[in-house]
């Protein structure tokens, strides 16, 4: 137990390090900040709600940078794409925060937030899961037919549509091998930024699918490039939160201790898998986060009386983090086994490299 003088709570160090570790693994692998898991967890550990957000945002900035350094080495960052998006993202976040304040004045922000979270995450889950299953099936057929599999396979027709939009200036993203209008990139940044600012999260779980299905980048590039955005928006969020008095740096420090290992594991794990594997983990994190938010919504709507709902939400939030880490580690383990010529389940084979 550590006495956090600024936050004014006593919390177990082990749990903070564990949260940092698990969210680091997940974040490094699917390119999210993990705030939708961390903020509820911190509140459960005893941190006041306003500090939970601030501590989370600050740790995301640091952890994101750890992952970015590794992803740069892996070749997963398209700097043209990243830098083009930043302005749109920042503007979007600012708009989203103002929207949140507006709803707060109307006095219905808590429920509105949860309902919006559930709706957005569930829709993203459905599309991502559907498309990834289709891609997985196609890869299985290709392997059976003896064809060589590339690092990525994507079955959505959305990118073709967006890449065809002739709105100048047209940008050539060399690393991603994508040629698309700058306005599409800025739009992606803005829309994801608004959602992020409004829901109070890093935005990764919206931006990564957007980069894949709208801009048409490969999943690996989407993950690496998105992490750059997360560092920038995380740093900005951390600054704002620090000035408001929402950050206890010691709590951040303990979380980064775990995240420095986790982010490495997650980032390097991407080199063991193909694109659809990452999208699967992303869709799982979306459905579990949706369930967690739905439980909390029902709890709030029933007047916060049904205690087991709150307990279920806590267990689900913690369980989700552990589940995702186990799945990611399994994928790496299966990849290593396959490279050594050992048996892996049939469904795994086309997913790993």
């Amino acid at each position: 137990m550590f006495d956090f003088a600024i936050a004014g709570v006593q919390a177990p160090i082990f749990l903070l390090v564990l949260v940092g570790l698990t969210v680091g693994i997940v974040g490094g692998f699917i390119g999210v900040g993990g705030g939708y898991m961390v903020t509820p967890a911190l509140i459960v550990f005893g941190f006041p709600g306003y500090m939970a957000s601030g501590i989370d945002m600050t740790h995301i900035a640091g952890k994101g940078l750890v992952s970015t350094v590794r992803h740069r080495q892996l070749g997963n960052i398209d700097w043209t794409l990243a830098l083009s998006m930043i302005a749109g993202t920042m503007l979007g976040v600012e708009l989203g925060v103002r929207l949140l304040v507006y709803f707060k004045h109307l006095g219905i922000s808590g429920v509105v937030l949860l309902v919006t979270s559930v709706a957005v995450m569930f829709t993203l889950f459905l599309y991502t899961q559907f498309e990834t299953s289709r891609a997985h099936k196609k890869m299985e057929e290709m392997e059976k037919a003896g064809e060589k599999l590339g690092r990525e396979l994507q079955t959505s027709s959305l990118p073709t549509y967006f890449q065809a939009l002739p709105l100048a200036p047209i940008v050539n993203c060399r690393t991603a091998r994508v040629i698309v209008s700058m306005w599409v990139i800025v739009l992606v940044g803005m829309v994801t930024g608004v959602l992020a600012g409004f829901l109070g999260v890093g935005g990764g779980f919206i931006r990564v699918p957007a980069l894949v299905y709208v801009v048409g980048a490969s999943t690996h590039i989407a993950v690496g490039t998105d992490l750059v955005e997360i560092v920038v928006s995380g740093a900005y969020g951390a600054l704002r939160h620090s000035i408001e008095g929402n950050v206890d740096l010691m709590a951040v420090l303990f979380m980064i201790t775990g995240a420095m290992i986790g982010a490495q594991v997650g980032s390097i794990a991407t080199s063991y898998v193909r694109g659809p594997a990452i999208r699967y983990i992303l869709s799982y994190s979306l459905i579990l986060a949706t369930l967690g938010a739905a439980l909390r919504l029902i709890y709030v709507l029933t007047g916060q009386n049904v205690e087991w709902l709150s307990l279920a939400a806590v267990v689900l939030t913690l369980g989700e983090m552990i589940f995702l880490c186990l799945f990611i580690s399994s994928l790496v383990w299966f990849a290593v086994r396959r490279r050594a010529g050992k048996w892996v389940p049939d469904w795994v084979a086309p997913l790993v490299v």
Binding site: V44, L311, V315, L316, G319, P345, W347
Partner: protein, 35 residues
Amino acid sequence: MKWFLNSMLGYWVLLLAISLGAAAIIYEIWLKGRV
């Protein structure tokens, strides 16, 4: 038992069960009565 490995859904269920169990243990040891 084999279904849990050979089918993707089965594996998903297996890992989720382990994770939720671990989460319940963590809750029981460290977090009960905190809020």
